[in-house]
Amino acid sequence: MSKRRFLSKPDLGPFVLDLIGSGARVIAPVRRLERGRDFIEYRQVRDPNDIVLGGPLPVRPLKEIVFPPTETLFRWRQAKSLIEIEESPTSFEETVIVGATPCDAAALEIVDHVMGWDYKDELWFGRRQATAVLAVACTQCDESCFCTAVGLSPQSTRGADWFLTPSKEGFEIEVLTPKGELLLERHDTRCPEASGSPAARASQVADKVQANLKMQPGKIRSWLERHFEDPLWKDIALRCHGCGACAFSCPACHCFDIMDEPEGMEGGSRRRNWDACQPALFTLHGSGHNPRKDQTARFRQRIMHKFNIYPARFGEVLCSGCGRCIRVCAAGMDLIGILSEIGHRAEEAESAL
């Protein structure tokens, strides 16, 4: 029962200004120049002209809007034996993402599983509730994209409240959720009913992405379940430097650490910060023992969590195929190559039966 609307190109700027005028924080892909190269990142925008829709994938994922790299859980103040606790608010300012990529939007829903599983993460869902996601179809890809291999596509509407498909004159809008309906009600005049038949969705991008990787997540999982101790892990992990670039660039990685930080003599704050499974510190026990003693064990964990453990618990892989882990890796760790290799071995194992 999704509604079809239209936003013309000249109306995009005024629409964004309307959003800002209504008190919403608008986050969108913008261009940044560094080291002689320019790239896209999600930033808060005040000038709609800064927005770049349909450009390359932002270098960092959308997750930091919903799950900041560091946030305060509560503050404490102490005077002798009297301790006061000040909880962090769990309601947040209204935020509209204009131009999320389909892989970033979908990843939010993928992570919802774990955030609402054994406890309901108030901070995650508080921000999720306050955030409307207007995703836009991908019109370009590169050799690291593989969303089609994990059941998504450059036109996947998953996780979006509105889905924008670019056309010559502007954007065709699909309104997909009650939150999206509410947003439309407030900006009804800017977005008239779309006329004619639905805009054709380019399939060339999807074809290109498909050529990067074809895999069957079920077969990958079945191989992983049977090959915890496989020489392959040692070979793959050799070049890994053990940093957190892949996890911190991943729209689906969500591990965190909790730290108490004193602020002066009278108080401090308890914070939660992003954490990643590749550095040795992640599993280092207070005793000095480390159950994941080397990079082989740590890299295996990364693959296992995404493609075996998460599907076992929540029914889908912890990956939206954005390929950022591949692009950012200084050592050339290539998830597409690794998944192809595992897929190949899974096929071989199957035919040997």
Binding site: R37, R239, H241, G242, C243, M259, E261, W274, A330, A331
Partner: protein
């Protein structure tokens, strides 16, 4: 290329090495290669995309690399400075590693960059580099190369920042470092960041807050820059590895400028030349104590 492969094969056949660290092509460009037998040597390549500083893998804290046994490693002349640093600081014995020097005429910024080396895409650190081959190497391979072209002034931005007032400089770094999420890619790829337990990982007490807020990020990046003063080999790997595209090399090059002005020392590929950070001299300046 054939010369490199033949030499590698010979080293395996003569049982001089158990494994070799070099470069190979992958789906997207070039990546580090770990070759473990004579019949794998045809994977090896060397060209302008071989930007990685493989000396990072020689650190004794890489237990899974140490487990490979006796290593040979392919080095450019800039990488030799890092190998020299590891030897100088007692992390590596010169006789424990076979160094295969490759003649180099400069590299590009990123290993997935297609096309030939031009002044447009040459890594800034290569411009002005006068060493075509590493003096520290046991073997030298490759065609003779000419010095990389290009005339970028890589220190223009450094000078520009030096000319800012304090507020402007602070504003710039607050903005740049706000993007840091503390993935520590800068540290992990750095051949000179070999501490057994990094100060940033210590929790009792936590000298450096692990939170990626301004306080934590400033403490981390400035501490790292100070610890690398006179040790940073200027390989640019921290900048290349940074997923937030923070120009971290600026901090290291500023520190190098100070070390050079104060101690007349520039990082060298001669492991016998002591570095200021590990040296005490009676005539060291002490004006800060007055």
């Amino acid at each position: 290329m054939q010369e490199l492969r033949d030499l590698a094969r010979k080293l395996f056949q003569e049982r001089k090495i158990d494994a070799l660290l070099g470069y190979e092509c992958d789906r997207r460009g070039v990546r580090p290669a770990f070759v473990k037998a004579a019949d794998e040597c045809d994977r090896l390549i060397f060209d302008q995309r071989c930007v990685h500083n493989l000396a990072a893998y020689l650190s004794p804290r890489r237990s899974h690399v140490v487990a490979l046994g006796r290593l040979a490693v392919v080095i450019k002349s800039c990488d030799a400075r890092a190998v020299a640093g590891l030897i100088r600081e007692n992390q590596l014995k010169r006789e424990d590693v076979v160094l295969i020097g490759v003649r180099c005429g400069g590299v590009v910024l990123n290993p997935d960059e297609p096309g030939e080396l031009e002044s447009r895409n040459t890594a800034p650190r290569c411009v002005g580099c006068e060493q075509r081959e590493p003096a520290l190497a046991d073997h030298i391979v490759g065609e003779p190369k000419t010095a990389p072209a290009g005339n970028q002034d890589r220190d223009a931005r450094l000078s520009e920042i030096e000319s800012m007032n304090l507020d402007e400089r602070l504003g710039l770094w607050v903005d740049l470092l706000s993007r840091c999420t503390r993935c520590h890619a800068c540290r992990q790829v750095c051949p000179m960041c070999f501490c057994e337990r990094c100060v940033a990982d210590k929790t009792l007490p936590a000298w450096i807050e692990s939170s990626p807020h301004s306080r934590g990020n400033f403490a981390w990046h400035l501490t790292r820059a100070l610890h690398l003063a006179g040790r940073c080999v200027d390989c640019g790997e921290c900048e290349r590895a940074c997923p937030a595209e923070i120009p971290l090399g600026l901090l290291n090059r500023k520190a190098a400028r100070i070390v050079s002005a104060r101690y007349g020392y520039t990082v060298t590929d001669d492991p016998s030349k002591p570095a200021p950070i590990g040296t005490y001299r009676l005539d060291d300046g002490q004006e800060f104590m007055e």
